[in-house]
């Protein structure tokens, strides 16, 4: 069960099982139009239009994959997370806060290069000092108090930032580590922003 063949096979079965005529027709046409009508600009190359396996499953199921498929593919995503060699998962919350503020990166008007911004405040409340926060994701204010007592919480937060899809296959949140947007140091700093008792998120 642990190898990657099972989820892949299940995904394939899912594709076949889905009624092609019901929604597949317009979806197929939409994909053809997208392939025809986009052009590369800046760092945004045309290969970004192709779905990877996870995106295809989420797109095909309206972001609600059948439970078995979802679980299996989440396990796949989790298996892909690379943890720091030194075993330390917490970095500097101050650097994390700075990174959380930045929404830069990967658009055709951004300069190519890493690391990019964490984009955190675009979607989440974190520090109470930052009142310009988005609401696409849940509030993370008082994260330590609300979630900190759970076992392996550092590992969970690290993994969640590295690959949000490991816990919710069709989550809105990007897979920052998986796609190489954030490196080990950046993710550690963001873990500290949520879990360091000195972080403003926990004040």
């Amino acid at each position: 069960m642990k190898n990657n063949i099972m989820p892949a096979a299940m995904a394939t079965l899912l594709m076949i099982a889905l009624p092609a005529a019901a929604e597949g027709d317009y979806r197929a046409k939409a994909i053809a139009v997208i392939k025809k009508d986009f052009q590369p600009r800046g760092q945004a190359s045309i290969d970004r239009l192709a779905e990877d396996g996870l995106q295809a499953v989420c797109n095909r199921t309206g972001n609600k994959p059948p439970e078995g498929v979802g679980r299996a593919m989440e396990a796949d995503q989790l298996a892909d997370v690379k943890y720091p060699a030194d075993g330390k998962l917490m970095g500097d919350w101050k650097a994390g806060e700075k990174l959380a503020q930045s929404g830069r990166g990967f658009t055709w008007s951004d300069k190519p290069g890493l690391p990019v911004g964490g984009n955190c405040y675009n979607c989440h409340q974190i520090s109470p000092k930052e009142t310009s926060f988005g609401t696409i994701g849940p509030s993370l204010y008082q994260f330590l108090k609300l979630r900190g007592t759970q076992p392996d919480i550092q590992k969970y937060v690290y993994s969640k930032i590295y690959n949000a899809k490991a816990y919710n296959l069709c989550s809105d949140m990007p897979r920052f580590g998986h796609i190489g947007a954030l490196g080990e140091k950046q993710i550690k700093d963001l873990v500290a922003l949520l879990l360091d008792p000195e972080s403003p998120a926990n004040k």
Partner: protein
């Protein structure tokens, strides 16, 4: 707290002042990342709304409408023909009243579903003899340049002011465009796995303090339609609905949609079609 509030208000006054004197000059942005408190932001929004209300009497969009009117009526291009005597926006040759709110629609002569901007470009190419690639090279305004097509779209849109949106969704080709547009809006891809719907598919969400309309609902779709083409106070440029679609894809981390393409027309069909029956107030002012 108070300082932030005052700062925000000052910024608006400065924006207003700068705009009144030199509409083409980019306005210095207030320090973007110093996050004002919620109350201050809301106050700033209220101030902007007040300012916009005051500006409605002398809407800067009207300047572009006037230029567009002249360009619509003048014989131009290699074929030396006026759009007024050659271009059919769906209401008959040269007729523009109510044309904007009835697009996108299907045009048999082009065998395509076209939004207003795409249709006018088509007329400029087919009737006046302009080259599509020349128009598509610089299709949108910047601080120093406003393309003719922007003036023309703004002129045409102005002649649908206070009219109800009526995209002909019962027409099979338009219906299909709506269906495909809906699928494009749901398509997740790219480095961040985003689709249009990641931000615009649910009620009551924000990015930072920016409210995100849910384009699948009539009220949300209307928010996405209202005010375009719009005069953007930041930068002082007149921008079209086509431009707005491209800027969404930029933030979605996608490549760029081709100008006046099926993809943009189908998305606009989905969004504007969802706003059917609601009153369009004409070219507007955007922050």
């Amino acid at each position: 707290m108070k300082q932030n509030l005052i700062g925000a208000l000052c910024a608006i006054v400065i924006m207003g002042g700068a705009f009144a004197q030199t509409p083409k000059k980019p306005v210095a942005k207030p320090a973007a990342q110093t996050a004002p408190v919620v109350e201050a932001k809301d106050a700033a929004t209220i101030e902007f709304e007040k300012f916009r209300a005051e500006m409605e009497d002398s809407n800067p969009a009207e300047l572009f409408e006037m230029k567009g009117e002249e360009q619509w009526k003048t014989k131009r291009g290699p074929k030396n023909v006026a759009l007024a005597e050659s271009c059919d926006l769906g209401q008959g040759v040269g007729k523009i009243d109510g044309a904007y709110v009835k697009m996108p629609r299907y045009f048999a002569d082009a065998d395509a579903v076209m939004d207003a901007e795409r249709r006018i470009v088509w007329c400029m190419v087919e009737k006046q003899g302009f080259k599509f690639d020349d128009i598509a090279k610089k299709p949108f305004a910047n601080a120093n340049f406003t393309p003719d097509i922007t003036n023309l779209v703004t002129y045409v849109a102005g002649h649908s002011r206070n009219m109800k949106i009526a995209v002909p969704l019962k027409e099979p080709k338009v219906r299909e465009a709506w269906e495909i547009g809906k699928e494009i809006a749901a398509y997740r891809a790219g480095p961040y796995d985003f689709s249009c719907n990641t931000c615009h598919g649910t009620d009551g969400k924000r990015i930072r303090m920016q409210n995100l309309p849910n384009l699948s609902t009539p009220a949300g779709a209307m928010k996405g339609v209202q005010g375009w083409p719009g005069y953007r106070m930041t930068g002082g440029v007149m921008l079209t609905h086509q431009w707005r679609m491209g800027d969404c894809f930029r933030q979605q981390r996608f490549p760029e949609p081709k100008y006046a393409s099926d993809a943009v027309a189908y998305l606009l069909t989905y969004m504007i079609g969802n706003a059917n029956g609601q009153v369009y107030k004409g070219p507007g002012i955007k922050r």
